[in-house]
C-alpha cells in the first residue's frame, strides 16, 4: 500500500501535465469530430457524417495513400542507411566516432521551418551550391513542376534532417554489445555477415523498434517541411495527410478537421499497437 502511494506520488506531476496537454485536447478533438461547428457557441451534433464524407472522398484516400507511400520510402532508406552508418561509426576511433555523432546531431537542432528554406537555397540554380552543380552537369532539375523531383527533394531533405536520430539510437544499441562477444566470434572465424546477423542485429532490434515507430509517425505526419517546399504540389502530388488537415483548419472547417485528425490518430495508434504486438510476440514475452 505504502509502495503504491509512493509510486503514484512520483508519477503524479507527469500524469497531471500529460492529462492537461494530451488527454484533454484529444477528448476535445474526439467530441468536435461529431459536430458541425460554425462557431464555438454554434455546434450541431451530426454523428458520423464527417467520417462518412471523409472516408469515401477521393481526396482523403489519395492523401492517405501518398502518406503511406512516403513513410514507406523514408523507412526503406533511413533505417538501413542509419544502421550502416552506425556500424561504421562504432568501428572508428572514439574521437572520430564522437565527431560523427555530433555531425549527425546537427540537423536535429535546426528549426523545422528553416530546413526547407536551407534546402531551397541549396538547390537554387542561380545561387545554390547543389543547384549550380546540377545545372553544370546538364541535368534538368525542376522541383516545382515535376512531381518526382519534388518527392526526391523532400525525401533527401527528410533524410538529412532525421538520419541522426537513427544513427544515434543504433549506436546506443551497438555500443552496449560486450567486447568478449566479438572476440569469441573472431576465434570461431565468423564472417562479417554472421557477426551482423547473430550478434549485432539481435541487439539492434530492441532499440530499432522505437526508431522505426518514431520515424514512421514523424514521416507519416510530415507538415512544416513538406508544405514549405511546394505547398503540396505539383498538382497535389505531395499533399500528405497532414497538409490536407492543415487546409481544413485554415478554412475554419473545425468539425471536418477534427474528424480528419481523429482518423490520422487512429492510423497512428493502429500501427503502434500492431507493431508492439508483433515485436513482443517475437521476443516471447509481454
Amino acid at each position: 500500500m505504502r509502495q503504491a502511494l509512493t509510486f503514484g506520488a512520483l508519477l503524479l506531476p507527469a500524469l497531471v501535465v500529460m492529462g492537461f496537454v494530451a488527454v484533454l485536447p484529444l477528448l476535445a478533438v474526439f467530441n468536435y469530430s461529431f459536430h458541425d461547428i460554425f462557431s464555438l457557441d454554434q455546434a450541431y451534433w451530426i454523428g458520423l457524417e464527417w467520417y462518412q464524407e471523409i472516408v469515401t472522398s477521393d481526396r482523403f484516400l489519395s492523401s492517405l495513400a501518398r502518406s503511406l507511400l512516403f513513410s514507406g520510402v523514408i523507412l526503406a532508406i533511413q533505417i538501413p542507411l542509419g544502421i550502416a552508418l552506425a556500424l561504421v561509426l562504432v568501428r572508428l576511433h572514439p574521437v572520430l566516432r564522437t565527431f560523427g555523432l555530433m555531425l549527425v546531431a546537427l540537423p536535429l537542432v535546426v528549426p523545422w521551418n528553416m530546413i526547407p528554406m536551407i534546402w531551397l537555397a541549396l538547390v537554387n540554380p542561380d545561387t545554390g551550391l547543389a543547384g549550380r552543380a546540377i545545372e553544370g552537369m546538364g541535368w534538368a532539375f525542376d522541383y516545382k513542376f515535376t512531381a518526382l523531383h519534388t518527392w526526391a527533394l523532400i525525401v533527401v531533405m527528410d533524410t538529412w534532417h532525421w538520419i541522426g536520430l537513427v544513427v544515434i539510437l543504433a549506436c546506443a544499441s551497438l555500443s552496449a554489445i560486450p567486447a568478449p562477444l566479438y572476440r569469441a566470434a573472431a576465434i570461431d572465424g565468423a564472417s562479417r555477415l554472421a557477426v551482423f546477423r547473430h550478434i549485432e542485429l539481435p541487439r539492434l532490434a530492441g532499440g530499432l523498434a522505437i526508431v522505426l515507430l518514431l520515424r514512421f509517425v514523424d514521416s507519416f505526419m510530415i507538415y512544416t517541411e513538406a508544405f514549405a517546399i511546394n505547398a503540396g504540389g505539383p498538382n497535389a502530388a505531395t499533399t500528405f495527410l497532414s497538409l490536407d488537415l492543415g487546409e481544413d483548419i485554415k478554412a475554419y472547417s473545425y468539425g471536418s478537421a477534427a474528424a480528419r485528425a481523429m482518423l490520422s490518430f487512429l492510423v497512428v495508434v493502429t500501427v503502434v499497437w500492431a507493431f508492439v504486438k508483433i515485436t513482443t510476440r517475437d521476443r516471447g514475452q509481454a
Binding site: 485536447p25 528549426p111 532499440g207
Partner: protein, 265 residues
C-alpha cells in the same frame, strides 16, 4: 572489435560530413552576403550587414529571448516531472506499468496538427496564449515522454544498492534524489535536457498557434521575414544564430549522446 582509422570507414565518414555540412555551409555563406540591392553595396558582396540588421531589429532580438525563455522552462518542467516518474518506472513493479510507459510514448507519437486546435481553445480559456508558459507546457506533450524514457534507462543502470544504503543512512526520498541519484545520472540528465531543448527549440506548429499577438519565438520571427522582397541573407543569418544554442548543447553532451536509449522488455 578493432577500432581505428580504416580508410574505407574514413571515406564513409567524409561523405557523411559532406552531406550533412553542405546545406549548412550554404547557409553560413549566404548569411555573410548582401542579398538585396542596397545603396552603395552591390548584391552578392560579402558583408556583415545581415548580422548588423538582426541586432538593430527589436522584433528579432525579442524573439531570441522569447524562445530562450520557453525552451528553458520546458526543459525544467520535463526534468522536474520526468525524473520522479522515471525513478518510479525504474524501481517499482506494478501491473500495467510497462503499458503506462508505452501509453506515454504514444502521446509522443500523436501528431501536433491533430491537437493544435483544441489546445489553442483550451489554452485560450485559461489565459496561456501569448505566454511562454503555454508553449513550455504544450511542448511537454512530446518532450516529457522522451525525458522519462531516457532518464529511466539511465536510472536502471544504477545499482539498487545505492538507494538502499541511502535510505538506511536516513535520507528521505527528496534528499536521496538531490544528494545521490542526480549526481549518479548526471550524463543522463544532460542527454534528456539536450533532446528536450532541441525538440522544443525547433518546433513550429504549437509555437505558431499559441503566439497570436505577442511572445513570438525565433521560428516565427524568421517566418515573418518572408515578404514580397525577401532578404534571404537576413533569413540565413537568423538561422545561423538560431543554430548556436543547439550546437553548444551538442558539444556539452557529445560523449553521452548515444547512451540512454535502451528499453527493457
Amino acid at each position: 572489435m578493432r577500432t581505428g582509422f580504416h580508410p574505407a570507414r574514413l571515406l564513409v565518414l567524409a561523405m557523411l560530413a559532406l552531406f550533412i555540412l553542405l546545406p549548412l555551409v550554404q547557409t553560413v555563406v549566404l548569411s555573410f552576403l548582401n542579398t538585396l540591392p542596397r545603396d552603395g553595396l552591390a548584391e552578392g558582396t560579402p558583408s556583415l550587414i545581415n548580422y548588423r540588421n538582426i541586432f538593430a531589429s527589436d522584433d528579432l532580438r525579442a524573439s531570441l529571448v522569447n524562445s530562450g525563455v520557453y525552451v528553458l522552462l520546458n526543459v525544467a518542467l520535463c526534468l522536474g516531472a520526468g525524473l520522479p516518474a522515471a525513478y518510479a518506472f525504474s524501481r517499482y513493479r506494478f501491473t500495467g506499468d510497462r503499458h503506462l510507459l508505452l501509453a506515454l510514448l504514444v502521446f509522443r507519437m500523436t501528431p501536433p496538427v491533430v491537437l493544435s486546435l483544441p489546445i489553442f481553445i483550451l489554452f485560450a480559456q485559461v489565459g496561456l496564449v501569448n505566454s511562454p508558459i503555454g508553449i513550455a507546457l504544450v511542448h511537454c506533450l512530446f518532450n516529457l515522454p522522451i525525458a522519462i524514457w531516457i532518464l529511466e534507462s539511465f536510472i536502471s543502470a544504477v545499482p539498487q544498492e545505492l538507494d538502499e544504503t541511502a535510505f538506511i543512512d536516513g535520507h528521505s526520498l527528496p534528499s536521496f534524489f538531490l544528494r545521490h541519484l542526480i549526481p549518479a545520472i548526471a550524463p543522463g540528465i544532460g542527454v534528456a535536457a539536450f533532446f528536450c531543448f532541441s525538440f522544443s527549440w525547433v518546433e513550429v506548429v504549437f509555437a505558431r498557434i499559441l503566439t497570436v499577438t505577442g511572445g513570438k519565438p525565433i521560428t516565427m520571427a524568421i517566418n515573418a521575414l518572408f515578404t514580397f522582397q525577401t532578404d534571404i541573407g537576413l533569413v540565413m543569418a537568423m538561422t545561423v544564430i538560431s543554430l548556436i544554442p543547439g550546437v553548444a548543447m551538442i558539444w556539452f553532451v557529445r560523449n553521452h549522446i548515444a547512451r540512454g536509449f535502451t528499453i527493457r522488455a
